[in-house]
Symmetry: C2
Subunit: 300 residues, 2 copies
């Protein structure tokens, strides 16, 4: 079944111990759609300026992603992010954020998109996330991502948005902040009480935890000896997860457990290259092979 | 089969967000033997001063632990550690260390102990660890624990000791330091190349990773909503692990995978109380029940 993503499209400049890449394609909507299109039909809603290279638009279109919700704003610039990772590369240090067209991103969905059953509302203004959720008339499962910026600065709007969706994904620091506890499990239970039926917490190299209807599940990450660029790992984790859920239509606890494996594996490919480079090389068969390895790696 | 532990016996003063407890029983040999005696016969080698309360000796003896290797040194004081944990409680801050009798701890094993097939050489001077390993004539599997102090200050002696044992256990920061890589998997492979057949890395609330003969396995930790005192978690992780290995006699990869589950669960009880308090309440049936919960919690 179709899967919608609403989120940023970016030109990123990234430095890691493996080098610097300037003005490469990034943004949550791009990472998510390139990861999830292995599983199902993708519909993208995003905004770019007239500095956004046409080759990137072609790349997305060539991969079958429906761009009816892509707005190119004349006389304006694309969202740009400049960041770096050092040492263990577990923390992204933002050097510069230029919101540009993303600053006033409050999209009206194309009429061909409003019946989409599955959706990912990437990190962004929770008022916009709620606005989009209200436009999805026939939704089956909508997943919302957020970050500390909104947890600290727009908590009420975030809680309003959370009540409109079916699941929330965030990292462990964000869960601790929103749940108000240093203990992650306690924090997750507090987040659930805000009105979240399905909560997924990403812990980077330490894996992920799922809490749904009081049931817990945890998985380690896929072991990698070399990480080139963590950018997009979170969004492509969500892409494998929601891709699998949209493909299978299975929103049960067991379904989400398997979805976590697909999220883990799509993210593991992402970090093996700068930006989208590694993710653009792989096939569904590559994903399946690595999922099999991963299940063996975690099976008692 | 019998299991030997050689390590510290301590009087700890510990502060966590849940309170302060003064001069409570601690030390690796105590935590380990109290955890592992659920699985097999325990033999303890350690040293105390004449300030060590007799009730602790009785408690260990009452639990069937063979104290033929316990030396009480007259006119000397027991090892004492004062530490605290704050916030997430993932880092122990040492406020005071009084080595006392532990400073010259180089034990000769009682003759009744030299045929012990399984042993845990708790964190300590690697020269002493090598000295003990050489006395174990009929060993089947000896596990060595260490810490940054020795990795940084006695690396050559540590590598010598490592070559004499069958397996090494350490935490992730220690593995990164000894393996010389920010990437944990890469670091673990480097540690293996020092001459380690079985390497177990503890990651606290993030679980554990096993590397044996080139094969990797990872597990999350048991989810707990409340941690009272992390002291002894590492030693009791080792106690469940080695207890299960000594009981089953299974040193295969599959055997160690299951042993990791037992280590995880024994440690999960430890942190639910100050010092040994929670660990002293539980039965083998409690361990088995929680292991079953844990396997379900991690099973795809």
């Amino acid at each position: 079944m179709s899967l919608l993503v609403v989120g940023s499209m970016a030109l990123d400049t990234i430095t890691t111990p493996h080098g610097t890449h300037e003005d490469i394609l990034g943004g949550a909507a791009c990472f998510f759609s390139v990861g999830a299109r292995h599983f199902t039909d993708l519909r993208l809603v995003g905004v770019i300026g007239d500095d956004f290279p046409e080759e990137h638009v072609s790349m997305l279109r060539d991969r079958g992603i429906d761009l009816a919700g892509l707005e190119r704003r004349a006389g304006a610039k694309t969202f740009r992010w400049t960041g770096q990772y050092e040492g263990r590369m577990d923390v992204a240090e933002t050097l510069k954020t230029e919101l540009n067209v993303l600053g006033e991103f409050r999209p009206t969905l194309p009429s061909s998109f409003t019946d989409t059953p599955f959706a990912f509302l990437a990190n962004g203004d929770p008022v916009t996330q709620a606005w989009v959720a209200d436009q999805l008339a026939d939704r089956k499962f909508v997943l919302l991502d957020t970050m500390n910026f909104w947890i600290e600065g727009a908590r009420d709007a975030l809680v309003t948005a959370i009540k409109k969706v079916d699941g929330v994904i965030m990292n462990d620091e964000e869960a601790r902040a929103l749940g108000g506890s240093d203990n992650l499990i306690r924090a997750m239970k507090n987040v659930v009480e805000l009105g979240v039926r399905t909560l997924i917490v990403k812990k980077g190299e330490h894996g992920a935890v799922l809490l749904q209807d009081g049931e817990l599940f945890a998985t380690p990450a896929y072991p990698l000896e070399e990480v080139f660029d963590p950018t997009g790992a979170g969004d492509t984790f969500a892409s494998g997860l929601m891709g699998y859920v949209a493909e299978s239509g299975d929103t049960s606890f067991d379904g989400f457990k398997r979805a976590l494996a697909y999220g883990t594996i799509v993210a593991s490919f992402t970090v093996e290259g700068f930006g989208l480079s590694r993710l653009l090389e792989i096939s569904r068969a590559d994903i399946e092979r690595r999922v099999e390895n991963f299940l063996a790696f975690t099976r008692f």
